[in-house]
């Protein structure tokens, strides 16, 4: 956090203060994207005021299931991870990369840039904030930069929101990515669950965040407010039961041919849901589509999944033919080889892959089993 140089650094607001915040971001001509209830889930979309937010809603998530539930309170942030991450806004499922036309012998090529669009991400969970940082490392690598990602990422005002009510699938605390945001935001909101009237501690992380904070109706935070926020954080950590022991993934990786991988493969449908909902999975395919007259070509980047058989297609067939090999590639990439490649984990502990797996495969349960099995065969 930026800390003491920012004025004001923190503020206590009530609902009208949050509404004013959304209004102020909109007045800055930003499209404000935030959590909302749609199609029976909490997901992301454009919000115009706090009434669009999931007030009074939480959700129950577990392996293969997601259920909305009323909280009976007017808490706004009593849910955990929205069904979709922010990935689609910065790394869209389909993106035009090149457009070419042929006229006689001449070929002209353009590589379109998206228009820079000022947006605000409102209510970003700590795990998802970490995931954005991970995508940055992949797609803004100075050796290989995706300028279209850079454009989409260039003007995002980030309002983070700490979690008070983690889902049963969450394990951000053990991945050290949550439940409270610590950096990478302009503003960060902590809902002071149980306060009367229900209040929010907002902290600025950047100078422009502090400027916006200065425009909001509220009062300065007291030591008691900070203690309240800490208590909410501590309760959230205590409520999280899933964990991932950092020592286990390398053990699992050491036995890539152990039959335990087949045990997962017997359940996995290779549907790729886990990779679509994962906030850090970045893989894509590049497709050329050409008009019938053969003179116009569009090159599109499309999300792809390492669970597809075609993903490793080569002359002579795919290299990863078995589901076991594809699940192994995915899991070990997330938790082990990502570390070698990008100096970070590829998993932030958001739990989406557990919830949205139709057969409820849970990496936090599989990893210890694989690690144990690997240790048992060791000489």
């Amino acid at each position: 956090m930026g800390g003491s140089t920012l004025t004001p650094a923190t503020l206590i607001v009530e609902r009208d203060g949050l509404d004013a915040l959304i209004g102020e971001l909109r007045a800055q001509h930003r499209t404000v994207l935030g959590p909302l209830v749609r199609d029976g889930v909490i997901t992301h979309g454009e919000v115009t005021g706090i009434d669009d937010l999931p007030i009074g809603w939480t959700e129950q998530q577990s392996g293969g299931t997601y259920r909305l539930q009323p909280t009976g309170t007017d808490e706004i942030f009593a849910f955990s991870t929205p069904s979709e991450s922010w990935k689609r806004y910065v790394h869209p499922p389909r993106a035009l990369m090149l457009r070419a036309r042929r006229e006689g012998p001449a070929i002209t090529v353009e590589t379109p840039r998206p228009e820079p669009e000022p947006v605000a991400f409102f209510g970003v969970r700590s795990c998802d904030l970490a995931a954005l940082g991970i995508l940055d490392r992949v797609l803004l690598d100075p050796e290989a930069t995706d300028p279209n990602y850079a454009v989409r990422r260039s003007d995002i005002f980030i309002v983070a929101a700490g979690c008070s009510t983690p889902a049963a699938t969450c394990f951000c605390a053990s991945m050290q990515t949550g439940p409270s945001p610590t950096s990478g935001f302009d503003l960060s909101i902590a809902e002071l669950k149980g306060s009367e009237p229900l209040s929010y501690l907002i902290a600025a992380g950047t100078e422009r965040g502090a400027e916006v904070l200065g425009l909001l109706p509220g009062r300065s935070a007291t030591a008691a407010d900070h203690e309240h926020a800490t208590a909410v954080h501590d309760q959230a950590v205590a409520a999280m039961h899933r964990t991932l022991d950092a020592a286990d993934p390398p053990r699992a990786a050491a036995a890539p041919e152990h039959p335990q991988w087949n045990d997962i493969a017997e359940r996995c449908l290779a549907c790729g849901n886990c990779t679509m909902v994962c906030p850090t999975c970045f893989c894509s395919s590049v497709e050329d589509t050409t008009s019938l007259d053969g003179n116009h070509t569009d090159r599109t980047r499309v999300w792809d999944s390492c669970f597809g058989l075609d993903f490793t297609h080569m002359h002579g067939g795919p290299t990863r033919t078995s589901i076991a090999s594809r699940y192994r590639h995915w899991l070990l990439h997330k938790l082990v080889t990502w570390q070698d490649q990008f100096d970070s984990s590829g998993c932030v502990g958001c739990g989406r892959c557990i919830t949205w797996c139709p057969v409820g495969i849970d990496l936090t349960a599989e990893i210890p089993k694989l690690a144990r099995a690997a240790t048992e065969v060791a000489p």
Partner: protein, 280 residues
Amino acid sequence: MTDTAAAVNAPSPMEPSMYRVTARDVESHDTVTLTLAPMADALPAPNPGQFFMLWAFGIGEAPISVAGVTADGSIVHTIRAVGAVTDALVALRPGDPVGMRGPYGTSWPVDAAAGADVLVVAGGLGLAPVRPVIDAIAADPSRFRSRRVLIGARTPGALLYPGASARWESQGVAVQRIVDRAGPDWTGPVGLITKLIEQSTLSEHTHAFLCGPEPMMRFSAMALIDQGVPPEQIWVSLERNMHCAYGHCGHCQLGSLFVCRDGPIVSWAAAQAVVRIPQR
């Protein structure tokens, strides 16, 4: 922290440069060697072992290794037609345009082999990506203690660059060729390329450059290690599905490696752990 402001103005990594086919040599019924010259600005000169993404307009792209660079800076590629893109590339004629981006990937560490015994082992189309190594040692043979090239192919007709062997021989490079199945005119050895490796004199001073189908490289590397060649001095050219060539699409991953960026040229010391595991 990454500099988003600068990244916004970075050139698109997908931007191709337009080249033109200036020569087309037929190697076999499905394989041609194309010479490509830039229509406007040339791309940076490739190092031996690197590859370009070649774009057949209206069809798509394919990664193709550099088989040579001519005196005027044109790029030479040998391409086998195995699918939509390579069919279209093989069908190109002199004068036709082709899009190029690159060069990409790691290179064969030829300079590190100076003063040592150089062994090149090529199977089938694998001769194309190591050809720049052979050309480099043939151009300056005295830099290396000894120079030996082993070439394998299914049939005599599938041996690439038939004229080149005699030239390399005349430049002080020992060339041996072997085929799986001999034809009526074949008087040379028949069998797997590992047979030639077993007959060679090798030592810890050997630097080996291997290119061909993965099983062939695996067996060759094992045969080399049996004869005392350190895995750090054995180099292989890996092949995986590739869509972007710059580390973003994820298709080429092999363990921790992005083959497009950390390969295609990898030491056996680094490759063996992943390559030996089936379906990795």
